[in-house]
């Protein structure tokens, strides 16, 4: 039974169809990279899985049951930087705020809270940051702490929206390695949206490509081919490989971020 199973998923926002008749079959423990041009619905898909925006049509089953009931088992790291305290609120306090954070009343289980926070920080290799103010962290540390916050409640699915944005290559590798470890050691299902496909190539098991309101899912080799992407975009798309880097050309132009990335790597010795 797949972790996420969707048939005919259709989502409209403000009268505009974001995606329509999307089929999803995401297995347990899979690492899925979600790609597509801006506005293709990558973020909307994650938010729809989480129930933050409604689906107009289709059936969605998560962890073998009703999507609504399964949502407490989904950890979510949004793309937008959350508002933070202006002061010295610590990493542990930030992570701990999410622990059973949906419950009303006072939290009397302080020992369990401390345990959950420490465990979550250990899983992202950030236990040494526990007492540091959130504001003092680097971009990569902050992203790992945000993932820890998503993991502080028991989660079996992790949704990461553009977690690699604004990170240097080394921090990107840390986040990717972390996601991979979660899938392998804990059989967690990870969905990660990204702009550039190349950093994810060694890590992900499946690719979900969204374009023109349509989506295709498959392995890297099956999906990222000239005919597949041409069909998806509705215009000629060329997929080519240089030194293990993929570049995707739509029409006559490069997709800038992909070509840019190739260029960066070409410049390195």
């Amino acid at each position: 039974m797949p972790a996420i199973e969707g048939t005919g998923l259709t989502c409209q926002l403000g009268g505009r169809a974001v995606f329509a008749h999307l089929q999803l079959q995401i297995p347990h423990g899979g690492f899925v990279g979600i790609f597509g041009p801006n506005g293709a619905g990558k973020t909307s898909l994650l938010r729809a899985l989480l129930g933050l925006i409604p689906l107009q049509d289709g059936t969605l089953r998560i962890l073998g049951g009703d999507a609504r009931g399964a949502r407490t088992q989904i950890g979510y790291v949004s793309q937008s930087e959350p508002k933070e305290a202006e002061g010295r609120l610590s990493v542990a306090a930030f992570v701990g705020a999410a622990w059973r954070g949906e419950r009303w009343g006072f939290n009397w289980h302080l020992a369990a809270l401390h345990q959950a926070v420490r465990r979550a920080l250990e899983r992202v290799n950030a236990d040494h940051l526990a007492s540091r103010p959130l504001q003092s962290l680097s971009g990569g540390q902050r992203q790992r702490v945000r993932i820890a916050q998503a993991l502080v409640n028991p989660a079996r699915i992790l949704l990461l929206d553009e977690p690699l944005n604004n990170l240097d290559p080394q921090s990107q590798q840390q986040v990717l390695q972390l996601a991979k470890t979660l899938t392998r050691q804990e059989n967690m299902t990870v969905l990660m949206t990204a702009h550039d496909i190349n950093p994810l190539l060694p890590f992900m098991d499946h690719v979900l490509y969204l374009a023109n309101g349509k989506g295709r899912m498959g392995t890297v080799n099956d999906l990222l081919t000239t005919p597949m992407l041409s069909e998806l975009y509705g215009t000629p798309v060329r997929v080519s490989e240089h030194d293990g880097m993929l570049s995707i050309r739509v029409g006559d132009g490069f997709i800038p971020e992909t070509s840019h990335h190739c260029h960066d790597h070409g410049a390195q010795p």
Partner: protein, 285 residues
């Protein structure tokens, strides 16, 4: 007797001042965390217009203050994030309500003192009824805040994730703005509409700079609020000048001190990071 406690007006001032300091600091902690300080400022100005309007209609200014502030909070909540976090929209409300307030004062010239006390506070003019009302409303507001503390904190730090886990973020935001309106409404006659930040933002903002975790943060804010209020009333009693001035000045200088101490403590703790790294005991929670 110390601080003129033999006088009823001083007992009333201290009782009402303490209740308002506590609830303002606790609610204000989340106001600063959620960056809704400007919305709080606008609410106090709407409250001023409401109170001035009530005076004009020969009603109890308290009634006008409560009703109009509460309605304005509901309006802010209803307009959602579009307005409650957008400076221009909030500024427009602030401007319009001040304009109305001036009109009401202009139409009702007989009692300018009542309007002045709403604008700048009148801590020694607290009646027995006002003191009890302040204590009662503050207690209720604190209970409400305690009940919604965890989802409010989660939502304040990560609204989307909280919504994903089933926190009713829109309703909770409405509830919090309602709580803020109640707090503003009891605080305005005491500290003044124009000086609402002295208790609602000053102590919590200083506490944010001084504490690493939420509970010590709230407690620090409350302690600072009470301390500044008592010291302010004490200074007004022994030295003179309005208590509002003293409280606002203390609030300002305490915040200034916190901005100086915060970074200094930061260096201290980052120096010891390498030492504590071997023993991640989860402290600072």
């Amino acid at each position: 007797m110390i601080m003129g406690l033999e006088y009823a007006f001083m007992r009333h001032a201290l009782a009402a001042g303490t209740a308002i300091a506590v609830v303002s600091a606790a609610v204000g902690y989340f106001v600063t965390l959620r960056r809704q300080a400007f919305a709080a400022h606008a609410l106090s100005h709407v409250g001023f217009a409401g109170a001035a309007g009530a005076i004009l209609l020969s009603l109890d200014p308290y009634v006008g203050l409560f009703v109009i502030t509460f309605l304005a909070a509901l309006g802010l909540a209803w307009s959602g994030q579009r307005l409650s976090e957008r400076d221009v929209g909030v500024g427009m409300i602030l401007m319009f309500s001040l304009g109305l307030g001036v009109l009401f004062l202009n139409l009702y010239t007989a009692n300018a003192q009542a309007a002045m006390s709403i604008l700048f506070g009148s801590i020694v003019g607290v009646t027995t009824g006002q003191a009890w009302l302040s204590v009662g409303v503050a207690s209720g507001a604190l209970l409400l805040l305690a009940a919604m503390l965890r989802p409010l904190l989660y939502m304040s730090l990560n609204e989307e994730a909280a919504a994903g886990r089933g926190v009713p973020v829109k309703r909770l935001n409405t509830l919090f703005l309602g709580l803020l309106a109640i707090t503003v409404a009891i605080a305005v006659p005491i500290i003044g509409a124009l000086l609402i930040f002295a208790l609602l933002v000053g102590p919590p903002a200083a506490a944010q700079l001084l504490s690493k975790n939420v509970f010590t943060g709230i407690l620090t804010a409350v302690a600072l609020g009470i301390g500044e209020t008592w010291a302010g009333i004490g200074c007004a009693y022994y030295i003179g000048y309005p208590a509002s001035t003293w409280i606002a000045s203390l609030s300002f200088f305490v915040y200034l001190g916190a901005t100086a101490i915060g970074p200094w403590r930061e260096r201290e703790s980052s120096d010891s990071t390498t030492v504590t790294a071997a023993d991640p005991s989860g402290k600072g929670l």
